[in-house]
């Protein structure tokens, strides 16, 4: 079940990627990329190298993260529920509903199907397409920015998951919230359960990654004007879907938006930085010297 669904996701996203690459990136840029792909890969390699420590962190987070988290983390589910119950107060001062309950009150099968596919396919597409698109540019900054911003999202997210233990609305508001993705589109669970832990709720990494992708789309609006509205629509849909499907609290989403923005800032800050071994050594020497001079 896991493999067939994963293959299905990969297949469908690939189709989207091909279509988007042809229409948004365009044949001219693709031809250019094909001619200079060696240099471009060489320029990107150090950033792809950044993936290695990330994968190690991911492995650790998956294997011991949940257990470690229950030992050192703080349980905040109750607080998230309380805050979420106050957010719509300006709209409904009399009887304020939970944000997720309010969103689900508008549910229809078609809307559920839309948000379920956006949550799975749309999200993957939204994150993968920029990598292709920015590799096809003649200058490396957008690609570097993206790689660093994605990495920052993930690292900060993992630390938060360690520190904050929370369950999503579908695990607490049983009588009101339906875990729509889980009851109606069962097949996706085999993929989501394999890549995520159910206490990894605060903040919403789906939201932060989507916000990052959309903000980066704006930063390359001159090159890819068509990508801006598409990325924005997808990002907003992904954000709404996390709440609509009962997976995240609105509070997770608010902090997710903040994290997505912060990650882009970090991406800009370090886009000129080359992650080479010598660079790391230099930096370490710099720190050591700084400490020494302070000790004196």
């Amino acid at each position: 079940m896991f493999l067939s669904t994963a293959a299905q996701v990969a297949g469908i996203v690939s189709v989207f990627l091909v279509v988007a690459t042809v229409t948004i990136v365009g044949p001219d840029r693709l031809r250019e990329t094909r001619r200079t792909y060696r240099e471009r890969l060489a320029a990107a390699a150090p950033y792809v190298g950044l993936l290695v420590p990330l994968l190690v962190v991911n492995k650790l987070a998956r294997d011991i993260g949940p257990e470690l988290s229950w030992l050192v983390g703080i349980r905040i589910t109750g607080w998230l529920q309380t805050i979420d119950g106050l957010l719509l107060w300006p709209l409904y001062p009399e009887a304020t509903p939970q944000v997720v309950v309010w969103l689900q009150s508008m549910a229809t099968p078609a809307v559920t199907a839309y948000f379920s596919s956006v949550y799975v396919y749309g999200y993957v597409f939204l994150l993968v397409f920029p990598i292709i698109a920015y590799m096809s540019l003649s200058y490396p900054e957008p690609f570097r920015r993206t790689a660093i911003a994605y990495g920052a999202n993930y690292l900060i997210g993992v630390v938060c998951y360690l520190v904050f233990i929370a369950y999503g609305p579908r695990n607490l508001l049983v009588e009101q919230v339906e875990g729509l993705l889980f009851t109606q589109h069962t097949q996706y669970q085999f993929v989501t359960a394999a890549v995520n832990n159910e206490t990894n709720v605060f903040p919403s990494l789906h939201t932060s990654m989507a916000v990052t992708a959309a903000l980066l789309a704006w930063s390359t609006r001159d090159e890819y004007p068509l990508w801006v509205p598409i990325a924005t629509l997808l990002a907003v849909s992904v954000i709404v879907s996390t709440m609509y499907l009962g997976i995240h609290w609105a509070t997770d989403v608010i902090f997710g938006i903040g994290l997505g923005w912060l990650s882009v800032v970090i991406g800009y800050r370090f886009e000129d930085w080359q992650p080479t071994l010598t660079g790391v050594k230099l930096r370490l020497t710099g720190i050591r010297n700084a400490i020494r001079s302070r000790q004196r």
Binding site: P66, W70, G78, Q81, P97, Q98, V174, G179, T183
Partner: protein, 587 residues
């Protein structure tokens, strides 16, 4: 919606309260400042997330909403099942919890739940910290008598529970399951709930591997029969470890299991000579009388005398306390003295899993594992994951992938398959119904039904929730089955913490729970409300469920009537500031 509006009201009330406080007259400041201030009472309800038990979460929300309405600041705190059990049963870190008692068929189980002397121990023995000399006397007395006298005393005990409410019984949820019958038949009602249920299956085709689905991965990582925080009802470890006797559902007399026969003595309290069957451990060594004697010594004190205070088993405490002494008379024979004259009760003492001495003896040393308060006395036996799980059960451990799957194979040298099954009805023995059992973890119950529908599994190993029933009924090829189990839902109070120390507070708390609404809405009607933990002949006439509890719900249709609950709290001696229940310490 009630909870949300109350929360906001509380916020506004707090703000208003702060303004009033600052406008106090200066002359009185000294008098006032010397007194401790009052603050709203806040309580935390510990429970598990809906993915593990939607019923418990529903009940937690129901109680939280109603307590909020009565002016108590209440927060629902979900945590994963093992963390929940560790906090409640081992660390006693809770105010109120919502849970399910594993199995309760005999009144003697109430003794381990409530006996004062057990309140400092870890496990299912008195997690409430309840202490009442009168109840203790009754709990001891029910062991000394039999027949109608025992029923009378049990009635008194249950009446006492209702008066004191250390825990509030809510009712029983049916055990629901879904099974495929094309590969295996003979499924008992409600699916595979007890180890012996597995023996009732028959092959319907050529398939020799039974495929079952798990809701969580606990058994894939921990197979220790004493690790209370990893066991729900102990069914799966029960497949790996055999007791001296077993009492399957629908059997009157306990069946001699590891015991070949039991010769009772006409003494008071009673004693018996037990002869063992010839059967090996999964590693090939023989099961001996020494192993049995060791098991009883070990379960009574897993430190084997190392610590000043004994560290008893966190589970089946009452069973072990029924055994006074064990004397080994021969390699396959031992004499057991009991603490009770009641033979049917003595049988309970014989139903604990027997452990191999050559593996468990060295687990009596002090454990140094994180996650449990290290200052408390914990032995390796209680925290060892016991991955290899060498037992003498009819299934043996084969392989496991943590969080994903575990496979067990039939143990061919087991006495059931070797003609040494005297005293065991034929339906449990004879031919092996399968060669292997594969357990696979699935992400949810909906996913479980989907896997069943595709024919990739035969049944779930765990119970299913009521909300999945329509989906089962709509699915071709699988059928729904259910039974009434011996486990009941209850609200546990930590009687060590004020104001839960006060029985009057607990009584009013109990009146915030609408049992009819819980069964109708949380269990979707698949259950029975009850205010007493026992069933059948043990339920006194006046406590049989008739739609209203003897301490009735103070409201209707699941929602409390605020003026009634506030009156009840007030007449129990509690005070209100506006619509908040306040206490000096805020605790």
């Amino acid at each position: 919606m009630a909870a949300e509006s109350v929360t906001r009201r509380r916020f506004l009330a707090t703000t208003a309260g702060a303004l009033v406080t600052t406008s106090g007259c200066v002359g009185g400041v000294q008098n006032l400042a010397g007194r401790s201030r009052t603050a709203q009472l806040s309580l935390r309800i510990s429970t598990v997330p809906a993915s593990e038990d939607p019923y418990a979460v529903w009940i937690a929300n129901h109680l939280a909403d109603n307590l909020e309405a009565s002016g108590v600041d209440t927060i629902v705190d979900p945590m994963s099942y093992d963390v929940f059990l560790r906090e409640v049963l081992i660390n006693h870190e809770f105010d109120i919890y919502i849970g399910r008692y594993p199995r309760l068929r005999d009144p003697d189980e109430l003794r381990s739940m409530l006996y004062s002397a057990y309140s400092e121990e870890q496990g299912w023995q008195n997690p409430f910290g309840f202490s009442d000399p009168g109840t203790d006397e009754l709990l001891d007395e029910q062991r000394a008598v039999s027949g109608d006298d025992r029923i009378d005393i049990t009635n008194e005990i249950q009446q006492q529970i209702l008066n004191e409410q250390p825990f509030v019984v809510l009712g029983v949820a049916d055990r629901i399951s879904a099974v495929r019958t094309d590969r295996f038949s003979g499924w008992p009602d409600g699916g595979l709930d007890n180890p012996t249920d597995y023996l009732l299956l028959d092959r319907a085709g050529e398939e020799t591997t039974l495929e079952l689905l798990l809701q969580n991965g606990r058994i894939t990582e921990n197979r220790n029969p004493l690790a209370v925080e990893y066991r729900d009802r102990g069914t799966l470890v029960g497949l790996l470890y055999e007791p001296l006797v077993r009492t399957p559902d629908g059997v009157d007399e306990p069946l001699p299991w590891l015991a070949r026969d039991i010769a009772w003595e006409e003494s008071e309290p009673t004693a018996a000579t037990v002869r063992l069957r010839e059967t090996p451990w999964h590693d090939g060594r023989s099961v001996t009388a020494d192993d049995v004697a060791f098991t009883y010594e070990f379960l009574a004190d897993t430190s084997l005398g190392e610590y000043d205070t004994a560290v008893p088993t966190p589970w089946r405490r009452s069973h072990v306390s029924l055994v006074e002494s064990v004397t080994v008379e021969a390699n396959d024979r031992l004499r057991i003295e009991f603490t009770t004259p009641n033979r049917s009760l003595a049988y309970r003492g014989l139903s604990v899993p027997i452990l191999p001495e050559h593996i468990w003896r060295e687990r009596s040393d002090a454990a140094d594992l994180a996650g449990v308060d290290l200052s408390s006395r914990t032995t390796s036996a209680l925290v060892d994951p016991n991955e290899a799980a060498v037992g003498s059960g009819f299934l043996q451990f084969d392989a496991a992938v943590p969080k994903e799957s575990v496979s067990l194979t039939v143990f061919p040298e087991h006495f059931l398959w070797n003609g040494d099954a005297n005293g065991i009805p034929a339906r449990f023995g004879g031919t092996q119904p399968f060669d292997r059992v594969e357990f696979t973890v699935v992400p949810s119950q909906d996913a479980a039904v989907e896997v069943l529908a595709e024919g990739d599994a035969d049944a779930p190993a765990d119970r299913l929730q009521a909300s999945i029933v329509p989906r089962i009924i709509d699915t071709e090829g699988i059928s729904m089955t259910r039974r009434v189990p011996s486990s009941f839902y209850h609200v546990g109070c930590n009687c060590r913490r004020a104001p839960l120390t006060d029985p009057r507070f607990r009584q009013v708390l109990a009146q915030h729970l609408d049992r009819s609404a819980i069964v109708d809405e949380a269990f979707d009607g698949h259950g029975t409300p009850s205010e007493v933990p026992l069933r059948g002949k043990w339920v006194p006439k006046e406590l049989e469920w008739n739609g209203t509890a003897s301490r009735p719900f103070l409201g209707s249709d699941g929602d409390v009537a605020v003026e009634r609950t506030q009156d009840a709290f007030r007449s129990a001696g509690y005070q209100y500031d506006g619509d908040q229940l306040v206490r000096r310490s805020g605790q």
